[in-house]
Point group: C2
Chain length 328, copies 2
């Protein structure tokens, strides 16, 4: 089977336009360093802290770009998605800032905390049964009834252009801090939205920077796709890094295939250890997904030693009652 | 019984000298804001994040000032203390930066994690029995054998001048960010080192700023001292805010008595709720002690509403295996 071809591939001009559009609605998140983690890895690490971003994750960049790029006529009908994670929060936040409705289709079995979080940002939830067929049917009904614009969590040029603003900010910040760029950039990969935005920006403004994607061993569909040369989707991957379970789609695959240097993987234990270590040493709350880059750096020290390495901390929306290193 | 009179009261010139002395050894920690917490409290809050400080707490300011202020001759013999908390870590860190020994007397029953942390920063531990008499006897032996300079965790002019650099930085930062100062400054109070440094600085550079100290109800010796007009020490206070169990001493009492506007208290439950809320919303790891200010602000909203309020997040050295909202 041949992979689908993307309809429109966003350009760096789209990233620049996105940045102007979303600037009033996002934080310019800080870049933090840790002399302890530098000592441990032998690399010079620069952490772009999107866990401090509005709505708690980088996803607000792409979601805001989609929402604020709509014509008034389209915007009036609102936006819709069927994510139940950070994309739903971010899209609800962005829609709220524009004063338009955001419809979120979620399984009725989703945790109450996730439903409450979406409602807290103003999202309107329609429940479906916990099956793909029900989700698709209910989503189609919602769209037909409202005319709301579907915003995919990652396979959408508007979303990828928005995520591309993160590396643009980062490169400015690290140059301000240290006088020069990094040698490598590491980010987690799930559906590939952040990695695609990173590829889009860096291939234009810093084409020598290596782009490394990090993935859980137990959800290594992107690593296997990268090796095979075509998209392989996992059936029902299970990992503590729950933001990274989704598969690549044609648009993100385009960027991965053309611009990613390598995809490294880490075990569940390595991810949890790296997560706890970051909380302990950097004093930041971040999701398990964000620990995958550090876990792969610690596992492949030779590759990173002596290098200047950017690491994207993608989000901070964690259930504080269930931390993966505490057995309940 | 009359309270002891301090031998030397540090001046704002001592704070300025301390700042020059310690600048190479500390972080200028960031000031963070949270629109969610502003909405919840009705105040405009500015959090000075000393949890991101070297060695994980503001205490490194005072400890570094003491260590780097020693003559070469004194420094050669090293420094000593009998804290087992952040002061011991900070003094070990600062002594390590100067390349001199730091002796720490700790009960043999102290948690292994605390011993490991002190050793991790290069501190030399001498164990004592878990009693005041043993601690004093062992400490006297260590001092006699080494000639090391005793640095008290808070009742020391060098330490208080060092802590005073925190508010100085904060006032510069908040003015850069917003064009003006705050109306009030809130910090937790245990022995009173941070509050005394805050009083020393603000009474000189911004005497109109109200200084509020926050304390656990279950360790409210400072609040009762403030009311009574003389130092009252609790016998064995028990609180989740374990950094705040120690009593005021003559030097910190001097500053509290003369410059603190009020001392507010919060219950254990209020402290834990405020701690979890801050982790959730600000995505930062901080100690229970740091949550006492927010707990008292939430409890006394009328007093803070409409005001610009600085809050000092004092440290981030938490046992991540035992979080107070998770029952084990």
């Amino acid at each position: 089977m041949k992979d689908a071809v993307p309809e429109y591939i966003p350009t760096y001009d789209d990233v620049l336009a996105a940045h102007e559009r979303i600037r009033p609605h996002i934080h310019r998140t800080p870049v933090l360093t840790s002399s302890y983690l530098n000592g441990l890895t032998g690399a010079e690490l620069f952490f772009k802290c999107e866990n401090f971003q509005k709505a708690g994750a980088f996803k607000v960049r792409g979601a805001s770009n989609a929402v604020f790029g709509l014509s008034d006529e389209m915007a009036e009908k609102g936006v819709a998605t069927h994510s139940s994670g950070n994309h739903a929060l971010s899209l609800s936040y962005a829609a709220g800032r524009r004063g338009i409705p955001c419809h979120v289709v979620m399984p009725r079995t989703a945790p109450q905390a996730k439903k409450d979080a979406v409602k807290g940002y103003g999202g309107i939830i329609t429940e479906c049964e916990p099956s793909t067929s029900s989700r698709e049917a209910v989503f189609a009904e919602v769209q037909a009834a409202t005319g709301a614009e579907f915003v995919h969590p990652y396979n959408d040029p508007r979303v990828i252009a928005g995520q591309g603003t993160c590396s643009r900010e980062f490169m400015e910040q690290v140059t301000d801090m240290t006088g020069g760029p990094v040698d490598m950039m590491v980010a987690p990969i799930g559906g590939g939205g952040m990695i695609s935005g990173t590829c889009l920006t860096l291939s234009n403004i810093a084409p020598d920077v290596q782009i490394i994607a990090s993935e859980p061993e137990q959800a290594d569909d992107a690593a296997r796709s990268f090796k095979a040369g075509h998209i392989i989707a996992d059936d029902a991957p299970d990992t503590v890094a729950d933001g990274l379970k989704v598969p690549l789609k044609e648009l993100t695959w385009h960027f991965v295939r053309n611009h990613v240097t390598d995809i490294l993987t880490a075990s569940e234990e390595e991810i949890i250890d790296a997560m706890k270590l970051t909380w302990q040493r950097m004093k930041i709350v971040m999701e398990p997904s964000c620990a995958v880059p550090l876990a792969t750096i610690l596992k492949n020290k030779d590759r990173f030693a002596g290098k200047r390495v950017g690491v994207i901390i993608t989000g901070g929306n964690v259930d504080l009652d269930r931390l993966p290193w505490i057995k309940s």
